[in-house]
Amino acid sequence: MNKNKIYPQWYIVGPLVLYVMFFLFPSLLGVLYSFTDWSSRSGINGISFVGLENYIEIFTSNRDYASGIVNTLKFTLISNGIKLTVGLFLAILLQEGVFGKGLYRTVFYLPSILPFVIIGLVFKSVFNYNTGLLNTMFETLQLDFMKQKWLSDLNIVWKSIYGVDAWRGIGYVMTIFLAGLNAIPRTYYEAAVIDGANFWQKLFKVTLPMMTGSIMINLVFGITYGLKVFDIIYVLTNGGPGRETEVLTTYVFQLYSRGQYGLATAMNAILLIITAVIGIAVVKFMSKQEVQQ
């Protein structure tokens, strides 16, 4: 009866060709090039196979590329932890009958429509030690002890980055959670209330299990974003002070800019592998949770 509504399988050929041509093929080619000494002079010198040399360089070099990998993973973990926790809290708060919740939702979401470069430039100015808005405000309020070297103190700089990242991303996470919350039937909460459940019991026994889908979306998006993070760090600190906030992508950018394409693609391949492994693991785990429910 519905035969006419089922489209033939060859319809997938178009997207598949595009996917293979513009993603799969370049990605595999990138992995292949990561085993070569491809550089900006290869047009003259040619490209030679160097085996695992690029990968060995990444993990053993004095330049500490490995710290870029660690920083990337750290950023992914912490930034998502902050955004998911606060985003969920705000979503729950704004789903309830808070006065002006529509306005709050808009206000919280607004930063996420701004480009990171603009946000970075604005916050770079806000964080300026001598003339920045933040330290000036503390000075005016006679709270001099709160003044910080926001982007040049090794103990503060990551916190500043997380703060800006959360300011921008929480609204987006919150919106996805709100969609998930709205999909939970009210009857579940009514039943829970009749059973005498308190706020936390409702949260952990009803809300969170029913939101596996939106949590998974946020996690997958958040993890892929975190592993690929570049612009916010590039604009705010450019990997500094020193090498403190270098991540995989800032190193890739530097290497590519220097014409060391082989090494850059090796770093990209590592990024691809980490992203794929973590992404697949998260999806599998969350799907399992969903099925069990």
């Binding site: 330049r63 070297k149 002070p241 020193g242 530097q254 590519y256």
Partner: protein, 463 residues
């Protein structure tokens, strides 16, 4: 059945559009081939190709220029406006923050999406290295009318294999020496320091008065390295022949006693807070006001900065210049290098690029350039009709410098592949000041970077 055919037609249209889209270049630039040849355009110019009289029409065309902040700024605005009016074209000036410029330029060159005109900090070595790769990326201006506007020393940064590729219009003032507030020095009874110990004592006295002794804008990313590189003369003096040895890979930065001393002294001053409360996070945006307000007393700057401070702040304080005495240096930072303008070989309108170079090098444009540059007191060009504005402070300072102190060029210009890693070295210096690295590791990284650059370039001394 109809739906099926409709889908097939849609797919075919999609594929055709995709092919057409892939075949075009959005910015209209044709990517140069790796061999450096270009079949469809003339890239060698001679006087007969002139279009000043309007023989060639550029109506409605757009000329894009990619430049680092500080190299053109507002000083070219009037020239650009006149150029736009004269040729009825639009100039798209893309000014990139200094700390990001090199990466962006290199990416654009590598991907064939560069602007029609681009700038680089050139020197006689830089033009041969991986940055510019003139045969591949630059228009050949050999025979252009303006070739004699540059003195030979500057032309060396623009010529490769006998062909002229770039145009360098820069000033000839003392560059990045120590600029100091003479009035404050007099009031505190301070003398110009000539050794590191004296410099430290001066800093101590100034600091005790609540002022920043030596302002360094670390957040700019490119300024703090000057303290290391501008005193190249002292490295050569303490180890004669060092430059030559570095250029043939017979010497290294790592382990050089004088270089280590300079880094250690720099860190000591940083630890003592003499560069300011947060020099790593400070930029130079407000520096002239801070000079005028006496918040800062010394900085590495060009002599013309004195003029800028006085004009912008109205201060009545007097200023002077002295040689940076880290490692007891007394050499003058001779530097024939400077920001240099190149035409991109992949441009779709090389004649318009040529017209711009011709236009900039007229006496009228040069005078506008100088008059609109608060930070310039002169232009180092061969144009007798140009009215220069030398400062008395420059004349006083230069009268105290002997010719023997000016022999060795600054380290970044005098040694191969060094300037390419200016920003990396700066990041490493900061890491060292934050105790994330050792001094010798900073130098080792420079050696490694230079070796990589040399290897990529195919330099026989490294291969």
């Amino acid at each position: 059945m109809k739906t099926k055919w409709f889908s097939v037609v849609c797919c075919m249209i999609f594929v055709v559009l995709l092919s057409v889209g892939c075949g075009q270049n959005d910015n209209g630039n044709a990517q140069p081939d790796a061999s450096g040849s270009s079949d469809d355009q003339t890239t060698v110019f001679d006087d007969s190709a002139s279009d000043v009289n309007g023989e060639i029409s550029f109506d409605g065309e757009e000329l894009s220029i990619l430049v680092s902040a500080g190299w053109m700024d507002n000083r070219y605005d009037t020239i650009i406006e006149r150029f736009e009016d004269t040729y009825d074209v639009t100039v798209d000036l893309q000014t990139i923050p200094a700390d990001q410029y090199f990466d962006i330029l290199q990416s654009k060159l590598d991907t064939g999406t560069n602007a029609d005109i681009f700038w680089i900090q050139s020197n006689p070595f830089a033009i041969e290295t991986t940055i510019v790769r003139p045969e591949e990326y630059c228009l050949d201006f050999t025979g252009a009318e303006w070739k004699d506007i540059m003195y030979e020393a500057r032309k060396a940064s623009c010529v490769h294999d006998g062909k002229l590729y770039g145009l360098q219009i820069w000033h000839n003032s003392p560059e990045y020496v120590m600029l100091y507030n003479k009035t404050v020095f007099d009031e505190l009874g301070l003398e110009i320091p000539t050794t590191y110990d004296e410099l430290k004592e001066v800093c101590e006295t100034i600091s005790a008065e609540g002022m920043t002794p030596w302002f360094i804008p670390g957040a700019d990313g490119w300024q703090h390295q000057l303290a290391f590189f501008q005193i190249g003369g002292v490295y050569e003096a303490n180890m004669p022949g060092l430059y030559d040895q570095l250029n043939i890979n017979k010497a290294t930065f790592a382990g050089n006693e004088t270089m280590l001393t300079v880094l250690q002294q720099f860190k000591e001053l940083s630890d003592l807070g003499y560069f300011g409360e947060d020099w790593i996070g400070s930029d130079s945006t407000n520096a002239s006001n801070d000079f005028g307000d006496r918040n800062i007393v010394m900085a590495m700057a060009n002599s013309s900065y004195i003029k800028q401070i006085k004009e912008e702040t109205g201060t009545t304080d007097e200023f002077g210049l002295f040689l940076l005495p880290l490692a007891d240096n007394n050499s003058f930072p001779t530097n024939p290098a400077g920001p240099t303008m190149f035409g991109y070989k992949g441009t779709s309108h090389p004649e318009l690029v040529k017209a711009f170079f011709d236009f900039v090098t007229t006496t009228e444009s040069l005078q506008e350039l100088l008059d609109n540059s608060p930070s310039y007191t002169n232009l180092d060009v061969n144009d007798p009709n140009l009215e220069q504005h030398w400062l008395p402070e420059e004349e006083v300072f230069m009268s105290g410098v002997k010719q023997s102190q000016m022999v060795t060029p600054v380290l970044q210009t005098g040694t191969k592949y060094t300037n390419d890693y200016w920003m990396d070295f700066g990041a490493d210096m900061v890491a060292y000041c934050l105790d994330q690295m050792e001094a010798n590791e900073v130098l080792e990284n420079m050696d490694r970077n230079r070796a990589e650059s040399a290897e990529i370039t195919g330099d026989p001394n490294w291969n």
